[in-house]
Amino acid sequence: MTPSGALDEGLAIPPAPGHHGELETALRAGRDRGRKLLVPYVTGGLGDEWVDIVRAVADAGADAIEIGVPFSDPVMDGPVIQAASEQALAGGATPVTILDRLRGIDAGVPLVVMTYYNVAFHAGHQRFASSLAAAGVSGAILPDLPLDEVGPWAVAADAADVETVMLAAPTAPDDRLPRIVARARGFVYAVGLLGVTGERDSLASSSLTIAARVKAVTDKPVLVGVGVSNAAQAVEISQVADGVVIGSALMRRVLEGEGPLGAGAFIAEIRAALDAG
């Protein structure tokens, strides 16, 4: 027997459903009102206050919220998100405990879970997708699941109407981007730079380039994340993109002890800057 004869499931990529899910509908509506989109990232299960932080950033003007479900080996994350993940795991956080808390949260904006693929693979694609839907989660981001491997997960996620956000990297050749955006639901996550998540002193020029390249091939909302660190950078990149994801800059403040009030104030500051243009 030869391995080559085995089912090559990695190559089958189902087309994305034609309808817009809750996340994409909300983000398109915001954009169509002329609003720049703001998606903060909050590590689920970190301390006692994380649910209050989710509510606070929602109230501060988030258009959707990424909820990190921590994984033991987060290869796309820099020191801040790594530390937040380690602390949450050490405190006993699991996908089950985090989703249980989300179920009753009523944040008023769509929630997107960001985790690593093994969390979904180990639970079982269908079971994990259903558990997200049951917790009121609209979408999922799996940064170590590239387009070529997304098929089996996408089948289950589509069936549960969980929108799988796809990432577009600066290294993607021109012929890959249209395939990525075609499979993207909710929004397209443009990776702002070569590197892992974390704050940078200035906005990488690659952010503007990748945002423009992705915008040129899709009318889906395009948000830039990785390396977007403050209000000024958010405003700068939003001249090209439809909005931003803010993760490490927020979680650093949380790790430094800022609670819901501080987190909300930081997001409100970015909201105000984006609204002022």
């Binding site: 391995p3 089912l7 080996d73 093994n118 491997e149 990297a169 290294t171 590197g195």
Partner: protein, 385 residues
């Protein structure tokens, strides 16, 4: 069955694949193309063979263990990868990858290392070819393998401690991948085992197949054209094992991989995805990767190369586990009976032969002695007092 090329998506059966961030996908595709082209290019093959012979010292000998065999009642043959330059089989792979990196125009190598053998080998070829080299190593491993850290410094490499998680090999891989995500345009990730995203498990196997090819011919000369009854090797990621298995997969020889009991991905893991591959993986009920615990830094890894998962799943190879205590005994046994101080990693394979010698009585076992024990002498001095 001979070991074959993986499927188009890099799978051996259900195992393997390319589970990496989008940023790295084009680099993996480029590497696959470059390797395929180089591997079919006689000029590249001749150049690599030249370095393997004149720099690494290949072919490595096959040693028949007379006193050990009498002691165990099992005829033991050693494939002497410990006699290669840098002291282990790792040089086979890094020479191949460094030549490939040079062919691709990359001037910087990053690597992960556990016991330091792959780090030393990578630092060595970086010096040989005038490349920049950065090695990530778990902080715990830097302590227990301080000698190898110093060797890497002597060779001009930078060694960066991995401070997260268990601070061992798994975390060093994470750090190397994070580096590569940021530097992919100028850097080649010189991965040290038959793991990671496609094409690494296949490519690294091909670079180590020289072990099995040589051993097959050496065994034929010794055994009147025959093959050993059993081919045994230690398995962390599994590169030395796959290299020697490759020479015997199409024979009747039984293939046995030996894992540390505290890091037995095949023996105790379930399928999972980490470090770019789907393979057996030690993990908790929520898919969090568990920390391995082994006396040997080189085998202290909760996963395993995907082709080993495949070979186990189809029954072509079997995987045994040994304890740290059994390894310590085997380390001393080979030293005293044959005058060969083995690395702790291949001492695992000998520990299995020794423990199960009743089952193996009268058989001929080929053991891949993947590395020498110099690096472990300090650690053993503490253990044995």
């Amino acid at each position: 069955m001979a070991l074959s090329e993986p499927s188009a998506s890099g799978r051996f059966g259900e195992f393997g694949g390319r589970f990496v961030p989008e940023t790295l996908v084009p680099a993996c595709e480029d590497l696959e193309r470059a390797f395929r082209s180089a591997w079919g290019d006689p000029t590249f093959r001749d150049e690599l063979d030249g370095f393997l012979a004149d720099y690494a010292g290949r072919p490595s000998p096959l040693t028949e263990c007379h006193r050990l065999s009498e002691d165990l009642g099992v005829r033991v043959l050693l494939k002497r990868e410990d006699l290669n330059h840098t002291g282990s089989h790792k040089i086979n792979n890094v020479l191949g990858q460094a030549l490939l990196a040079r062919r691709m125009g990359k001037k910087r190598l990053v690597a992960e290392t556990g016991a330091g053998q792959h780090g030393v080998a990578t630092a060595t070829v970086a010096a040989l070819f005038g490349m920049e080299c950065m090695v990530y190593m778990g902080e715990v491993d830097m302590e227990r393998q301080a000698l190898n850290v110093f060797r890497m410094h002597l060779l001009g490499a930078e060694v960066v401690p991995a401070l997260s998680g268990s601070r061992t090999l798994k975390d060093a891989v994470n750090e190397a991948m994070r580096d590569w995500v940021a530097t992919v345009e100028s850097t080649h990730y010189c991965l040290g085992s038959v793991m990671g995203p496609h094409p690494y498990p296949w490519m690294v196997r091909e670079f180590h197949t020289v072990i099995g090819t040589e051993a097959r011919a050496q065994c034929a000369a010794l055994l009147d054209g025959g093959v050993p009854d059993v081919v045994a090797a230690c398995v962390g990621g599994g590169s030395n094992a796959i290299g020697i298995f490759a020479g015997f997969a199409d024979t009747d020889a039984e293939l046995v991989g030996v894992e540390p009991a505290g890091g037995a991905a095949v023996g105790r893991g379930v399928p999972g995805v980490v470090h770019g591959m789907r393979s057996y993986l030690m993990q908790d009920e929520f898919g969090q990767v568990q920390e391995a615990h082994s006396i040997s830094a080189g085998l202290d890894y909760p996963g395993v190369g995907p082709e080993h998962s495949f070979l186990s799943s189809v029954g072509r190879a079997r995987y045994e586990q040994v304890t740290d205590a059994e390894v310590i005994d085997a380390f001393q046994l080979l030293s005293r009976t044959e005058g060969i101080i083995p690395a702790l990693e291949p001492a695992h394979a000998l520990a299995w032969i020794s423990r199960d010698r009743a089952e193996l009585a009268g058989k001929t076992v080929l053991l891949n002695l993947s590395g020498r024990g110099d690096k472990d002498v300090g650690q053993m001095m503490e253990i044995l007092g």
